[in-house]
Each structure stands twice: as structure tokens, then as C-alpha cells.
């Protein structure tokens, strides 16, 4: 008896699964005439976003300061939105990086960062900049060459994943930085803590650091 009931249940489930399969192979999609396809999927956003480089998806970030990143996926500073924007635009949208964004603008590095093929950016937070005496900071912001030198010392060619983070990296400024640590705890040049790491942007990965890195020479 129970077996028969189970059979009936199976029949109903099968009938529904079939409807499901139908919709899956019959273009159960938004667009009216769509059919299933192996072609890549576009991403509708508040800004029309293009397809060719599928944006990185949020996830995999680590560190205490990640908690302060806006949670609303519609917020331009959220991990979801940052993942779809080129690195300088993404940084400019993040409230923790507003000083850095201003510095990037003053150094005229935004376009270059945005159009770089792939970069890793060690991004000093606003708090990191407050550790520099105001007079010194103003002097740096006014000296474009010095500013470019300092900022490019925070950028490494290529996307560096957390498991490849520890070690010595040649920066775009030309001199090396050294990352020590493992897991989710890293320090750069023994001075700057990575407070939120592995933030994805369209063309770069961002590690927030709590101190500005200074080129040795």
C-alpha cells in the first residue's frame, strides 16, 4: 500500500521535474525569445556593464576591516559593485579609501590603474593616512612626482591571490615590498597590517593596509 502511494508521489514528482526540465531546455529565461545557450551571461547593472571581461565576483575577502565595507550590493562601495568596476573607480567608491582616491587623482594615476591589464593594489585606508603628519601629507599631495612614486610603490603587476601573497614582490615603482604572514594575517614591510584582503575588482585585487608604505629610496 505504502509502496503504491510512494509510486504515486514519484509520478507527481516526475511530472513536475519534467516541467522543470522543459523550462530549462525551453528557454525558461527573462528574454522572450531566448533559448538556453552556452554563451556567456551578461550582467545587468545600474550602469550598463559590458561582457567581454566577466567581472570578478565578490567573496573570498578576509580581515577585520572587511566588516566596515558597505553591505548593500547596490552601494557603489560594496564588494559586489567593486567587483564590477576597474580598480581605481572601485577604490574611489569605497568610503575607507577616500584619501587614497584623492591621492590617485592628484597623481593622475586613475586612468592608468583602470586600464592596467591586472594589478594588485595595497590600498592604505583613510586611517593609514592619518598616521602621517598633516604637513607631510599635504607636501606629498602637492608634489606629483613624489606622489606617483609613493603610490606606484603600493602596486604590483598581476593579480596576487592570498596564497601567493607571502614573499617579495617588485612594485611598479621599481623597488620591492615584502609580505610576511599566512592564512588571514599578513604584514607588508613589517609595518602595515593587511586589514581587509582579497577584494576583487574588474582588473585588480585590493588589500587594504593600515599604514602607508614608504619606498626605501
Amino acid at each position: 500500500m505504502y509502496g503504491k502511494r510512494k509510486l504515486t508521489a514519484l509520478a507527481a514528482v516526475a511530472a513536475f521535474s519534467l516541467s522543470l526540465a522543459l523550462s530549462a531546455c525551453g528557454g525558461g529565461t527573462t528574454a522572450a525569445t531566448t533559448q538556453p545557450t552556452a554563451l556567456p551571461t551578461a550582467v545587468p547593472t545600474t550602469v550598463p556593464t559590458a561582457l567581454p571581461s566577466m567581472p570578478g565576483t565578490a567573496g573570498g575577502e578576509f580581515g577585520p576591516a572587511c566588516a566596515t565595507i558597505p553591505k548593500d550590493p547596490a552601494n557603489p562601495g560594496s564588494l559586489e559593485m567593486m567587483a564590477q568596476q576597474p580598480v581605481a573607480t572601485a577604490a574611489a567608491a569605497n568610503p575607507q579609501l577616500s584619501t587614497l582616491a584623492a591621492a590617485i587623482q592628484a597623481g593622475e594615476l586613475g586612468d592608468t590603474l583602470n586600464n592596467a591589464e591586472a594589478v594588485t593594489v595595497f590600498a592604505p585606508t583613510n586611517e593609514a593616512f592619518t598616521k602621517i603628519p598633516k604637513a607631510d601629507l599635504d607636501k606629498v599631495l602637492a608634489d606629483k612626482e613624489l606622489l606617483k612614486k609613493i603610490l606606484t610603490y603600493h602596486v604590483v603587476d598581476g593579480k596576487t591571490a592570498p596564497d601567493a601573497l607571502a614573499g617579495t614582490h617588485k612594485t611598479l615603482e621599481g623597488q620591492d615590498i615584502t609580505v610576511t604572514g599566512s592564512g588571514t594575517e599578513f604584514k607588508v614591510n613589517d609595518t602595515a597590517m593587511i586589514v581587509c584582503g582579497n577584494i576583487q575588482t574588474r582588473n585588480g585585487v585590493v588589500y587594504l593596509v593600515d599604514s602607508v608604505l614608504m619606498p626605501p629610496s
Partner: protein, 538 residues
């Protein structure tokens, strides 16, 4: 709980049978008319953009199956509930199914590309489901309890119906327990057998209808691909200037940027395709793909760019398009006085609004059928897309186009305009450095700086490059066939001073206007500013 199993199954089976019927009919009539597709589309349209973004970011390409799965789960829950409802309130249950059918029909009819017949599958789904439920429900409730005097045919108002099922499962609290004593009676067995047979028949019918629909649908999908492969492009009546041989002037189709809202690429069978020119016209027109191929065709090189492109960004490309000039088609239809907007409707559900005056001002606005010598690639709008030189794609270049409706800007906001983007979207003068690469390390010596500049339909008269704060230098412009394409430029930089340098570029358009230095974000009507590029000479 057990007393509810058979009524719930009745509801599920009835709904499954209805949906399978709808899918079968939709596959025969028009795939777009599937109620599931229509409801899915309606749900997506109603979903706030941030949630959509989140869904795409979180579920990736699984977002669509997940949506349809969710719709089916909700439908299944509703169907089961309706099945249970039918035990006591047959009429109410049938009305509920009718209402669901009407919801599906309404969804199908309110899709952007809807036609009246699109309501048919959903209405049939409702009718078939209701019929199946009316047939199954009495059998689901026929197991007669010994004490009940009225076991048969419980009507909507017959309270005896409520007594019939509990008997079948009474004395057994656990759903997986053995059948109750009542079920063991001959009448109980007969009732169960009758239900099982009916349920089996419905399941079988559902499977057959669904399988058939799947086969038809698959052949339809294949049809679009096959039809594209089979197209022989007619020779252009007006071939335009000969193609340029400069490397990089044309963007290969596979490298051409793609910005659209289609979560999956629409596959339109050109043999089923028609274009309607409607709205504020004297003589509405409907054209088939073959009609279009018989029109005089022009071939033009036109650069297309996206309004969301950042300064120096990648969303610009140049291609050789083959198409039907749009202005004569509109004139033949007779554009009425006051119509200032052409609303293009497309198979992906988007609407794109183009100024009538722009299309009629003599420029080569066209309905393109080929790109760089190939029928339009599926992702670039096969079978037909619009191209309007001088306008950003979001106002002038609808893909998978199905209808052109003459309208006014004051009465209708197109898709991106509803989202705050500018209504008319003329291209802003822009220039880009493609060589050297960002942060390049360059050996001292002569460095070729090269890139593109564009101001479609105004043309580019000059491009200038600046190194650090030194004077602007004239770049050399390569030849172009018209003002509608980008211009490739080069400049030889005597890069002798070691160290970091900032390169800067600006263009002067055909009217003599210098590209603005003022920085603007892409939103709401296109980015501006001179692109800079930092490199190091070693």
C-alpha cells in the same frame, strides 16, 4: 497529514499536466508565449536592480534555472494547496486554478514583445489543470470510511467529503506507517486503485506532452543556428568606400564589446522573425527577413561605443556593417507630425529610444544584418540590429530588434532613460591611448605612442599628445573612410629622460571643438576628460 497526500498529489498532477500542455502549445505557437518564461521575465523586470546584481554575482549563470526553479516550487506549493482546497471547496479550487491561468496569460500579454495569441498557452494550462483536477479530486477523496453515509462524489458544499479521507489514514500517526484499516476495505482499495490509475494516466500524459515540447523546442533552438549558418548575404547595392587595410581599424566580431541586459543570448529564427513599424505612422509596416534582404543594402564602416565606457575604457569598436537604410523605411511608413522618438523593441525585452530627427537627417542609420562580412553574431543581435552613427549604443543600436514604434520623448521613456540615463545620447568626443600599455617600462629611445579617437558623425580633425607638462604635440592621423568611424593616430615620442612620465591625449572634432578636459563619470550621458597614462622610461 496523510489524509492530505492524495488531494495534494491531485493538485500537483493537475498543475503539471496543465504546464506541460502550455509548454507543448507554446513550443508550437511561439516559444515566448510559455507562461513560465513570461512569468520569469515579469519577475525579473520587477526585481530591483541591486537584487539582480546580487543574484548574478552570487549564483552566476545559475541565476536563471534558480529563478525558474523557484517559480516552479511556488507553483507546486500553490497546486498542492489547491488540490487540498478541492476536497472541501471544489468550486473555489477550480476558480483558483482559473485565476492562476489568468495570471500566466496576463504575464504573457504584458511582455514587451507580446502578441495576442501569447495568452493561449497560459489559458490552456488553466483549463487543462482545472479539468484534470475536477477529474482527479473525487478519486483522491473516494476512500469510503465505514461510518460515512455519503462517501461518493463530495461536492464543494458537501461536508461529507471531509470525512472520507481521514478514514483512509486513520490510526496511523506516522506518514510512513502502514495503511489504516479503512484502506484495507474493498471499497478503499478500489478507490485507491482508481486514483492510482488516473494519476498514472495524468503523469504519462504530462510526460508525453512535456517530452514532445522539449523535442520541438530543441529543434527550434537549432533552427536559429542553422538558419544563421544558411544565410547567404546579398551584395550591397551601395558598397561604400573600399575596406581599409590598416591593422586594428576593424574590431573582429569576437573581440567586439558586448553590453546588454540579456541574461541569455536571444536566439531568433529569421524565418519566424518580423519587424513591425507601428505607432505614429500613416501605414504600419510588417517586414519579414526576406523582405529586408530584398531592400537596397548599404555597406558602411561605423564605430559603435557604449555610454558606460570610462575614460580610456574598452567599450568601443569599429565594424563594417551591411544593412537596410532606415530613413526610407520610415518615410514609406509615413512618420506622423509630432513623432520625435523611435522606440525600438527587442527580443531581450529592452526598449531603446532614438530621435527621429537624427535618423532622418541623412546619416547612415540602418537596420544591420551583417557585421564584418558575417551575418550578425547571435550576441550582437542576430538577425537584425539597429546602428545609428553618432549615438551611443543605448540610444541608437538596439539588438535582436523586433519592432519600431514611432512615439514621442514626452510620452515614453526607454529602458535606460527610465534608469536615469540621458534621453538623446549623442557621442562625446573622446580619445584613447592604446600603446604603450599602462605602467609600461620602456627603454630610452623613440617610443611610438598610438591609439584611437572618435566623435562619430562629426569626425576627428586632430589628435594631440602631451608628455608631463611639456607642450602638446600633433599626432599623425591615419586615413578614414568617413566621419562615422574612429581615427587611428600615432606619435613618435623621443623618450630620452629616464624616469616616470605621464602621457595625456586629447582630440579635436570635425567642428573644431576641443575634447573637454572636464572629468565626468559615464552616468548619465557619457564620460569626459583627457586620458592619462603613466609609464617609466628606463
Amino acid at each position: 497529514m496523510r489524509r492530505l497526500i492524495r488531494p495534494a498529489l491531485s493538485g500537483l498532477l493537475a498543475a503539471a499536466g496543465g504546464i506541460a500542455t502550455a509548454e507543448l502549445v507554446a513550443s508550437l505557437v511561439r516559444p515566448e508565449s510559455s507562461p513560465l518564461v513570461a512569468i520569469g521575465g515579469t519577475v525579473i523586470d520587477a526585481t530591483p536592480t541591486p537584487v539582480k546584481e546580487y543574484a548574478v554575482a552570487t549564483f552566476g549563470t545559475y541565476d536563471k534555472p534558480l529563478l525558474i526553479g523557484t517559480i516552479l516550487i511556488v507553483l507546486a506549493a500553490l497546486a498542492a494547496a489547491v488540490g487540498v482546497l478541492a476536497v472541501h471547496h471544489r468550486t473555489a479550487a477550480l476558480l483558483a486554478i482559473g485565476a492562476l491561468g489568468l495570471v500566466g496569460a496576463a504575464a504573457a500579454l504584458t511582455r514587451p514583445t507580446a502578441r495576442p495569441l501569447d495568452a493561449l498557452p497560459a489559458l490552456l494550462a488553466g483549463a487543462v489543470s482545472a479539468g484534470l483536477l475536477a477529474w482527479l479530486a473525487p478519486k483522491a477523496a473516494t476512500a469510503p470510511p465505514p461510518p460515512s453515509p455519503a462517501p461518493e462524489a463530495p461536492g464543494a458544499a458537501n461536508p461529507a467529503g471531509s470525512d472520507t479521507v481521514p478514514a483512509a489514514g486513520s490510526g496511523s500517526p506516522a506518514a510512513a506507517g502502514p495503511a489504516g484499516p479503512a484502506a484495507a476495505t474493498p471499497a478503499g482499495r478500489a478507490g485507491r486503485r482508481s486514483f492510482l490509475i488516473a494519476a498514472g494516466l495524468v503523469a504519462l500524459g504530462t510526460a508525453l506532452a512535456g517530452g514532445l515540447a522539449a523535442i520541438i523546442r530543441r529543434s527550434g533552438t537549432q533552427a536559429a543556428d542553422d538558419a544563421r549558418d544558411a544565410i547567404t548575404l546579398p551584395a550591397p547595392t551601395d558598397p561604400g568606400p573600399p575596406p581599409l587595410v590598416t591593422p586594428g581599424f576593424y574590431t573582429p566580431n569576437q573581440d567586439f564589446y558586448r553590453v546588454d541586459i540579456a541574461l541569455t543570448v536571444p536566439r531568433v529564427d529569421p524565418r519566424q522573425w518580423t519587424l513591425q513599424i507601428t505607432g505614429m505612422v500613416d501605414k504600419p509596416v510588417e517586414l519579414t527577413f526576406d523582405d529586408l534582404l530584398k531592400q537596397p543594402l548599404i555597406q558602411r564602416d561605423i564605430t559603435l561605443n557604449c555610454v558606460s565606457n570610462e575614460v580610456g575604457g574598452p567599450y568601443v569598436g569599429n565594424a563594417r556593417w551591411l544593412g537596410v537604410p532606415l530613413a526610407p523605411l520610415l518615410r514609406a511608413a509615413g512618420v506622423q507630425a509630432g513623432a520625435d522618438q523611435i522606440v525600438a523593441r527587442a527580443a531581450d525585452g529592452i526598449t531603446i529610444g532614438t530621435p527621429v530627427a537624427t535618423v532622418l537627417d541623412g546619416r547612415d542609420a540602418m537596420l544591420a544584418i551583417a557585421m564584418n562580412g558575417q551575418p550578425l553574431p547571435l550576441e550582437h543581435g542576430f538577425p537584425v540590429r539597429m546602428i545609428t552613427p553618432g549615438l551611443y549604443g543605448y540610444v541608437g543600436a538596439a539588438k535582436w530588434i523586433t519592432a519600431l514604434e514611432l512615439s514621442t520623448f514626452s510620452s515614453f521613456d526607454a529602458y535606460w532613460v527610465q534608469r536615469g540615463w540621458g534621453a538623446t545620447g549623442p557621442v562625446k568626443t573622446a580619445s584613447r591611448i592604446d600603446r604603450p600599455k599602462a605602467f609600461a617600462q620602456l627603454p630610452a629611445g623613440t617610443v611610438t605612442v598610438a591609439g584611437v579617437a572618435w566623435a562619430q558623425h562629426r569626425g576627428i580633425s586632430a589628435v594631440e599628445v602631451q608628455v608631463d607638462d611639456t607642450p602638446w604635440q600633433q599626432a599623425k592621423l591615419l586615413p578614414v573612410p568617413s566621419t562615422d568611424t574612429w581615427v587611428q593616430w600615432t606619435w613618435d615620442w623621443p623618450a630620452t629622460a629616464a624616469g616616470s612620465h605621464t602621457l595625456r591625449v586629447r582630440a579635436i572634432d570635425g567642428t573644431g571643438a576641443v575634447q573637454t578636459e572636464q572629468r565626468a563619470e559615464p552616468f548619465p550621458d557619457g564620460a569626459t576628460g583627457w586620458q592619462t597614462l603613466v609609464v617609466t622610461v628606463t
